[in-house]
Amino acid sequence: MARVASAVFSRLVIIIPYAWLLFFFLIPFFIVFRISLSQTAVAMPPYTPVFDLFGGLSGIMEKAREFSLDNYVWLTEDVLYFNAYVSSVIIAGISTVLTLMIAYPVAYGMAKAPKSIRPTLLMLVILPFWTSFLIRVYAWIAILKPEGLLNQFLMSINVIDQPLIILNTNWAIYIGIVYSYLPFMVLPIYSSLEKMDHTLTEAALDLGCTPFSAFWQVTFPLSLAGVVAGCLLVFIPAVGEFVIPDLLGGSETLMIGKTLWNEFNANRDWPVSSAVAMILLLILVIPIVFFQNAQAKADGEGR
């Protein structure tokens, strides 16, 4: 009796979340794929063919013949989409490098801090993550505007005499991404630096390494796992980012998340936005698999 209950319990623990994710996470991708092969129609839902599960097998076969790769051909023909993909990857890449450059010294300083204040520092890094993403992006508009607080400050200390145009340029997007994703970079780097055996650095110094080369040859390689995890946590979502380019970027800024949003909400073209999403997923699938492997490995080490 107890054994049966035990088996049922363990089954349920696995099956309930498994079924939920299959239904709400995996199956939707197949639907997106299917609709990306459909045609736009003035109807609700605005695409054709619409499958009728009760139409029988012959009905499904009939409609399957209406599928086409037209939307994908359309994406390759219109240079706008290609440019949007490329510039999303470039913007996300530059932002990831900038985030790393700012986050690493912070994480390093935290790992070197006295043990007693480390939990407080950690808390302070996590805290902004709890406040709204939208609010944090919004806060930068008032700072970066031509008549905004940054320009007022720089002009009052006579660094510049003309306001800098930052808002609605790519620089505003970089700042927005670096700011919003900074905690995601600091945390994994900090945790790999904190676990590090510091006698190794001391040994390198004793053996005549300069502090600089000790850092590059010992400390940095040992923190690489954290750096890789942090970069993926920033890069992947940044490629598909919508809110930041929409609020901080200019009208000529091309990012694929924004393109998809406009295609969907303004043009109401569901098949094309599905095709845009499929290609975006294709671009991100390699970094996502990489991230999952790194994550699974980290769990294995924790065991």
Binding site: L12, V13, L21, W130, F133, Y179, F242, D299
Partner: protein, 271 residues
């Protein structure tokens, strides 16, 4: 542990300044007398009074809070189960796929998650509105809960559980009497995380919503597009205040529990 050099202190101070300054400025300018958010014209709380009379905004806030309460609670149950499945059952068919489905939503761009969920809801003929937003939020927040709970489970001494099972407790009873109390702080912080993620979400809600269900971030977003006003700063300040209080309460509760547990353990050893 090495020396905490001036460079280290400077990088921490600058880094934290960068993280907090925009939020501090936003809060300060919510009390601005002037309609401009960039020129200080004196202290005033008039924007807060104005909020109180903005019925559309209050309705949106109420929708958001209900969505967040329901979705965080369901996501906590599902996420805790997912964490248990990942940590306790290292071998079952399709485990690779399962762990992939738990980790992928953490980094998946929101536009993709939002679009795919919307197309699912349309395909199964679900009326879009309050409940579709809630289902969407459960799906993406449960993965964050799973990761938080999982890290606690990994450092959990499983022999206590085995002892309970050996002494004849059923697995269900063991879970509620032993496992759950130990992982409770992580489950609780998972709930708080899911709640704030749901409270915060704009993109996924916008895709999965229907007529009549407008959440606060959607309302804020449409106002921001019209221009920056102290009124939006005031809403944001209230939200930041709620989250800050929540996080502080959560961390105090967690600390007290941990301290209590350590005390109990020491008392148990002393006997």
């Amino acid at each position: 542990m090495g020396n905490w050099s001036r460079f280290n202190i400077a990088s921490i101070v600058l880094g934290f300044g960068f993280l907090y300054l925009p939020i501090v400025l936003l809060v300060i300018f919510s009390f601005n007398e002037s309609k401009l958010v960039t020129v200080w014209a004196g202290f005033s709380t008039k924007w807060y009074t104005q909020l109180w009379h903005n019925q559309a905004l209050l309705d949106a806030a109420w929708v958001t809070i209900r969505v967040a309460l329901i979705s965080a609670t369901c996501a906590t149950v599902l996420g805790t189960l997912a964490a248990l499945a990942l940590v306790r059952y290292t071998r079952f068919r399709g485990r690779m796929l399962f762990s992939g489905m738990v980790y992928a939503p953490l980094v998946m761009p929101e536009v993709i998650t939002g679009l795919s969920l919307l197309l699912l809801f349309v395909a199964i003929g679900l009326d879009r509105g309050f409940w579709t937003i809630t289902l969407a939020h459960i799906t993406f927040t449960m993965c964050f809960v799973a990761v938080v709970v999982q890290s606690r489970l990994l450092s959990f001494d499983q022999s206590i559980e085995e002892a309970a099972l050996d002494l004849g407790a059923t697995p269900v009873r063991t879970f509620f009497a032993i496992t759950l109390p130990v992982i409770a702080p992580a489950v609780f912080s998972g709930w708080v995380l899911a709640f704030t993620l749901s409270l915060d979400d704009l993109v996924i809600s916008s895709f999965t919503t229907g007529p009549g269900a407008t959440t606060l971030p959607m309302k804020i977003y449409s106002q921001v597009r019209l221009g920056v006003t102290p009124e939006i700063n005031a809403i944001c300040t209230i939200l930041i205040g709620i989250v800050a209080i929540g996080v502080i309460v959560a961390s105090v509760v967690t600390k007290q529990r941990e301290a209590q547990r350590e005390k109990d353990e020491r008392a148990a050893f002393a006997q």
